[in-house]
Structures are given as structure tokens and as C-alpha cells.
Amino acid sequence: MPEPVATARIQGSSKLESSRHADLEAVQRCLAGDREAFAGLVERWQDRIYGAIFRMVRDPELTRDLAQETFLKAWSKLASFQGGAAFGTWLYSIAVNQVRSEMRKRSAKKYGAPVSLEALRGADDERAFDPADAGPGAVEKVATQEDCALLLAEVETLDPDHKEVIVLREFQDLSYEEISAILEVPVGTVRSRLHRARGELRERLSGRVL
């Protein structure tokens, strides 16, 4: 039985680790005054950071702001980066803190606005709707996108702690250890949060999608 999921997880995590040395080298160059090196770091990490924030806040404008602030904070705090953790982990932790800070400001109201399917399609990778993808699985894929809209709407309503682990684990392919380092909680806590989040999603989507 093929295990595409496990393969993706491993590849994702290894990708994170594989860039560690390159990141450290770029950080050293940044500290030496090489601004272009930081530009390279931004290029390397912008999609992941932007995507993670977007999955948490689902507001493109806010996502842009928070992502930009994440990188600017990294730029200003680069000297404090010790290299003990991967640069990506450090960057994710900044992003998560940015989102948390923003959520605290908006704690009185529901986080984010409802997103229509069209908006989701517009915001997400349009390759999912590329006619060139039409083939044996095309119909199933489109159906999956509609399911995704429902799923993301339910993710939106999750408890912030659960949402964080779902996003980092399911959408960002980070390992438990990396999530543990980012969220600064034990691995067991990450695991339990993730299990509860999945169970909650399963219950909410039961009878509609599942």
C-alpha cells in the first residue's frame, strides 16, 4: 500500500532541515552587512511563512502585513538568532507570535472574515483549477477543492492552539519536534493538540464532507 502521506511528511521536514546550512550561511552574511543575503532568505521562506499565516488568518491583506512584519522582525533581530535551531523554525516562531499578537488584538471578534469558495480559489494556487490538470482525477480534484473550502472554514473556527498545530502540521508539513520548538510546548502537547484538532474537524465535517 503506497504511503504518499508519509513520504510527503518526510520530504517536507527534510526540506526544512536541508536548508539549514544555507540559512545559517545567509544569516552570517547578513550579519556581515550583506543585505542581498537577507533577500535570499526572504525569497526562500516567503511562501512558507506567507502560507502559514494565511492559513491562520485567511485575510490576504492582513497576511501580507503580518508576513512582512515577520521578516522585518527577523531582519532587526537577526543578531539574536543563535543558530541553535533552524532558521526556518525561528522564522515560524516569529510568524506565530505575530499572529497571536494580532489575534489578541482582535480577540473580541471572530478571527478573520468568512471566505467564499471563489475567494479561496483566487487566493489559493490556481494550478488546482488549471484545465491542463484535467484527467482521470480531475472531477475528484475539483470536488476536493470544494471540500477544502468547507474544511478551511472549519479550521477557521478551531481553537487557536489547535489551529496552529493543524496549520503547521497539515499545511506546512512540519514535524512534531519542529512544531514543538516553534510553539515552545512539549512534543506530547503538540501531539495531543493535533489529535484533538483532527477529531474536532472530523466531527464538524461528518455528514457534509466525510
Binding site: 531582519w75 532587526s76 497539515e170
Partner: protein
């Protein structure tokens, strides 16, 4: 059993399930159809989660980040390359930037509330706060400095701009009220040594808005033909580039503030330009040529009225008076309105200005009418302009009440040929001195140098010429003082404080700094200040051209 199922199914979703765990999970599912349904739902959820497409950063995002980083470095100002730690607080907070106007508004409200609610302890009770005020000035109270800077930016600059742009040559004649001259030694004796020992609080050069209409140096008005000219009998050297003032039409209601004049080719057009709209009398600070007899008469009258009021009121509240001299009524009124508006802005709309506008006497000459033919030196316009209304605070006669005093013949006394009878007070504004706009009036040292730093270029040129002319006038005055025929002159000089500064006239020549300090101290002692806006007609050409 359910816990085991949960652990195994999540391990499968995470891709971390071992073959043994997989077999165990299969056995659990086979044994319980409910678990089989749960397993199917979890697997479907996993499928949907994996199907969620990734989100890419928008195009140009990295560039915008780098641009913001560069901005942060620039804002940090001089952080060395590589000193990343030095940029710790330099990253701009874009959403904070969006909130900055609200923060500024909130700060402004707080300041306004603080000013409105704080007891004016700094400006009360001369005997108890004067020393403290001086001490505060000596150590450069930062709050005062900020207040002044804000005042210049927010209020006075606008008002002055109005004056400049109206084509009026604006001149401040700042004079501490009679109490500063006649004040018994009780306050002066206490404060003077401290003032002498402590530097006068100097206002940073006020940032004047650039005039809307630029007038180059070539377009600047020529030196006055008559204002600074010595009497014919005087053997002073001729004035450089004398220019006869062309005849002026009576001012219509359409253009009350800009009497039409024929401008020589190359000069700016009339109406709004200081170079063209006025008769080119550089009323620089301390330029005694601008201390026209009619203006001095107004000052004398005003002083008399102040003295009367002072006996009952100002003894306990030393109210300084600032004279702002205009040539143009409309400009003066605009200045008054601007100053009132500036104070209102300071007070957040709270009405704190006691204004007494002097309307022209219907029977008197038109103040705007500067036609020499219509200016009758004997016309009792100043007295009639003041109906004897209540002064600021409702006490005492108005300033122009010295009309019974015979007007000196300006032409006879100075030979400048000014229309003595048409000088008048346009408005008196009694304003709380704590307001930044007024603090600016009180605290800005109006020496020529200060004005030169603040004024538009064309005004600076005027001031420079005025300084030269003042020097000539000083020389002439000295000669006149030495002359036995000018017996009255020492008294006048003493009362005015002299041309070279000192005395009550502030901002005159070398006495500006000391005067500014004195005014600042005066501002710290009082709760209100009177701004007397005076209009003096521009000098008219006399029959004899000086220097010819």
C-alpha cells in the same frame, strides 16, 4: 480500545505507523464497524487536508520586504552596516503607521486637556512663581520648548504667513506693559539678577512656511524712499536707490488689503506680493524708521490707557502687551483672525480670545484710503475709532482713547511725511498666555537675526536693508540728541527704551536677547496677554525727495 485506535489512526495520518501498528489497526477496524467508519472519516479528512493547495506569497512580496527593511535602516539613521542588533527597533510597523494619526490625535487631545485643566500655576502669582519660572527657563524646560515649537508650527506661523502673504510688511513691536517699565523693584529686583545670570530661553528659529508666491531677491522691494530718509535739513548721506512711491488709488471693498500700485517692470504684480503690494517700507524689528510718529502716538495713548487700567488691575496681573504693526488693514484683520484661530486650535475650539475689534469711525477717514490727498492730519480719527468701549476683560477704556491728545505732526517731527492721523488700533486680543500660539508671540526673540532665519527671502532682504537703515537712524539720533534743539528727545527716548533696544521695547537691536528673556519671564508671570494690532499707513512720498 478506543484510545489505541486513536493513537494508531493518527499515526497513520502522520505517516509514522509501523507495520505492526498497521496490522493492529486493521484488526481493530475489522472487529468494530464503528471504528471502521471512524477510520474512513479520518482517512477522508487526511485526504482533504492534503488536498488543500499551498499558498504562495504574492508577487513582489520579497521586494516589498526588502524595501521596508531599507526604510527601517534609513529611519534608524546611521546604523552601521552589519549592526543588525542596532536595528532592533527600527523596523517600521506598518499597521502602527496606519494608527499613527489616531495616536497623534489622542496625544493632542491629552495635551489639550492638560492645558485646559491644569491650573495655570506657571503663569500666576508673580511673587510666587517668578523665580520658579526663571529657574525653569534656566534649565531649559523641555516642555516649554516643545510648546513653543508646537506653537510656531501650528499657530503663529500660519498667522504670520497670512500677514506676509497679504503683502503686509509685518512687524512686531513687542512691549512689556507699563508695569515692566514702571514696575517697582519688587519683582525686577528679584528676577533681574537671575535673568542676568541665566541665559534667556531662546526659541529655536521658527519654521516659517514658504510663501506661496516666491519673490526673488531681484523682485524684492526697493529700499524705502521716505521712511528711513533723514529730514531735509539733515546732512545724512542720500538713501540708496530712492524710488518715488507711485500714487495710490483709494482701496475698494474688493481689494481692501492690497491697494493698487504701479509696479516697476520686473517686479511682482500687485495685490498679494509683499514686494508689490506695499510701499516697500522695511519694518524690521527695531527699525525706528517704522516707529512713525503716529504709531508712537498710538502707543502713547495705549500706554496711557494701560496705565489707567493697570492701577486697578494689572498691579496683580501684569499683562504684557504686544503690538503687531501692519500697513494694511485687511492683512491686520487677517492676522487677528489667524491668531484667534490659532489660539482656538490650541484650545481645541474653546473660545479663549477676548477680541475687541475697532471699527472705523464712519465720520473718520477711511483707514484703507491711503490717498495722500485724503489724509488730513487733523482728522480725529483715532479718537473716534474708539468709542470708549471696554477693554479686554471689560475694564478700562480702550486703547485708542488718547484721542484728545493732540497728534504730533509727523512731518514736522521726523520729516517722513507720514499720515499721522490714520494710524489706529484694529483689534485688541486678550489671550491666555499659556496658549502655545501666544507663547510664541511672547517667547520668540524678534531680533533681526531671528526673523532673518524665519522669514521668507524677500522679508529677509527687507530686514537686512532695515538693519542698515536703522544704523543710519541711530547715527542720526545720536547727532540729534547731541543737539541742544532736541530737548524733548531724551524723554521720548527714555520712554521708548531707545532705538538700540533695552527698556520696554523688545527685540530691538542688541537688546533683543535680553528683551526676549524678559518677555519670557513676563509670560511666565501672567495669565493673559494683550495683542494689539495696529495699522499704520505706509509712508507717503513727501514733496522733497531725500538725497536729491
Amino acid at each position: 480500545m478506543t484510545d489505541e485506535f486513536e493513537r494508531l489512526i493518527h499515526a497513520e495520518l502522520d505517516g509514522e505507523i509501523t507495520p505492526d501498528e498497521r496490522a493492529r489497526l486493521a484488526s481493530l477496524i475489522d472487529a468494530d464497524p464503528g471504528l471502521a467508519e471512524e477510520a474512513r472519516a479520518y482517512r477522508q479528512l487526511g485526504t482533504i487536508l492534503r488536498a488543500v493547495p499551498p499558498v504562495a506569497a504574492p508577487a513582489g512580496f520579497a521586494d516589498s520586504v526588502m524595501g521596508a527593511a531599507v526604510m527601517a535602516d534609513s529611519a534608524d539613521g546611521g546604523v552601521a552596516e552589519g549592526d543588525v542588533a542596532g536595528r532592533s527597533n527600527a523596523a517600521p510597523r506598518f499597521r502602527l503607521v496606519r494608527a499613527a494619526p489616531w495616536m497623534a490625535l489622542a496625544a493632542g487631545l491629552l495635551i489639550a486637556v492638560a492645558f485646559a485643566t491644569r491650573p495655570d500655576e506657571r503663569f500666576q502669582s508673580p511673587g510666587t512663581t517668578e523665580t520658579a519660572a526663571v529657574d525653569r527657563s534656566a534649565r531649559g524646560d523641555s516642555a516649554d520648548v516643545k510648546d513653543r515649537a508646537k506653537a510656531v508650527d501650528a499657530g503663529l506661523a500660519d498667522a504670520l504667513e497670512e500677514g506676509f502673504e497679504a503683502g503686509s510688511e509685518l512687524r512686531f513691536r513687542r512691549r512689556v506693559a507699563e508695569q515692566d517699565k514702571e514696575r517697582p523693584s519688587e519683582a525686577t529686583a528679584d528676577a533681574a539678577p537671575q535673568r542676568a545670570a541665566t541665559p534667556a530661553p531662546r526659541m529655536p528659529a521658527p519654521r516659517m512656511p514658504a510663501p506661496r508666491k516666491k519673490v526673488g531677491a531681484k523682485d524684492a522691494p526697493a529700499p524705502p524712499a521716505t521712511a528711513a530718509a533723514p529730514p531735509e535739513s539733515n546732512s545724512a548721506p542720500p538713501r540708496p536707490t530712492p524710488r518715488p512711491t507711485p500714487a495710490r488709488k483709494p482701496v475698494t471693498a474688493k481689494s481692501p488689503g492690497a491697494p493698487e500700485r504701479t509696479s516697476p517692470p520686473g517686479t511682482a504684480p500687485a495685490d498679494t506680493s509683499p514686494a508689490a503690494g506695499e510701499p516697500s517700507t522695511p519694518l524690521a524689528e527695531g527699525d525706528d524708521t517704522a516707529s512713525t510718529p503716529d504709531f508712537e502716538k498710538v502707543l502713547d495713548d495705549d500706554r496711557d490707557a494701560t496705565r489707567k487700567r493697570g492701577a486697578s488691575r494689572d498691579a496683580k496681573r501684569r499683562m504684557p502687551i504686544r503690538y503687531v504693526v501692519f500697513h494694511d488693514v485687511a492683512a491686520a484683520e487677517r492676522f487677528a483672525a489667524s491668531l484667534s484661530a490659532a489660539v482656538a486650535r490650541d484650545a481645541k475650539g474653546k473660545s479663549e480670545v477676548t477680541a475687541e475689534r475697532r471699527k472705523p469711525d464712519p465720520g473718520g477717514p477711511d483707514l484703507d484710503d491711503t490717498d495722500p490727498d485724503d489724509t488730513d492730519p487733523d482728522s480725529p480719527d483715532r479718537g473716534s475709532a474708539d468709542p470708549g468701549g471696554a477693554g479686554p476683560g471689560g475694564a478700562g477704556p480702550a486703547t485708542g482713547g488718547g484721542s484728545e491728545r493732540p497728534a504730533a505732526d509727523p512731518a514736522a517731527s521726523s520729516g517722513r511725511g507720514l499720515a499721522a492721523s490714520s494710524a489706529r488700533i484694529v483689534a485688541r486680543l486678550t489671550i491666555p498666555s499659556a496658549r502655545p500660539s501666544v507663547r510664541a508671540l511672547l517667547d520668540v526673540p524678534l531680533s533681526d537675526g531671528q526673523w532673518a532665519a524665519a522669514a521668507p527671502p524677500e522679508v529677509r532682504e527687507l530686514l537686512a536693508r532695515a538693519a542698515e537703515e536703522r544704523k543710519d537712524v541711530e547715527d542720526r539720533r545720536r547727532r540729534e540728541t547731541a543737539d541742544a534743539d532736541t530737548a524733548d528727545e531724551p524723554e521720548v527716548e527714555s520712554e521708548r527704551g531707545g532705538v538700540g533696544g533695552g527698556g520696554g521695547v523688545v527685540g530691538v537691536g542688541a537688546g533683543a536677547a535680553a528683551g526676549a528673556g524678559s518677555l519670557s519671564s513676563a509670560a511666565a508671570r501672567v495669565t493673559t496677554v494683550e495683542i494689539v494690532i495696529v495699522v499704520v499707513p505706509p509712508p507717503k512720498p513727501t514733496g522733497s525727495k531725500p538725497g536729491r
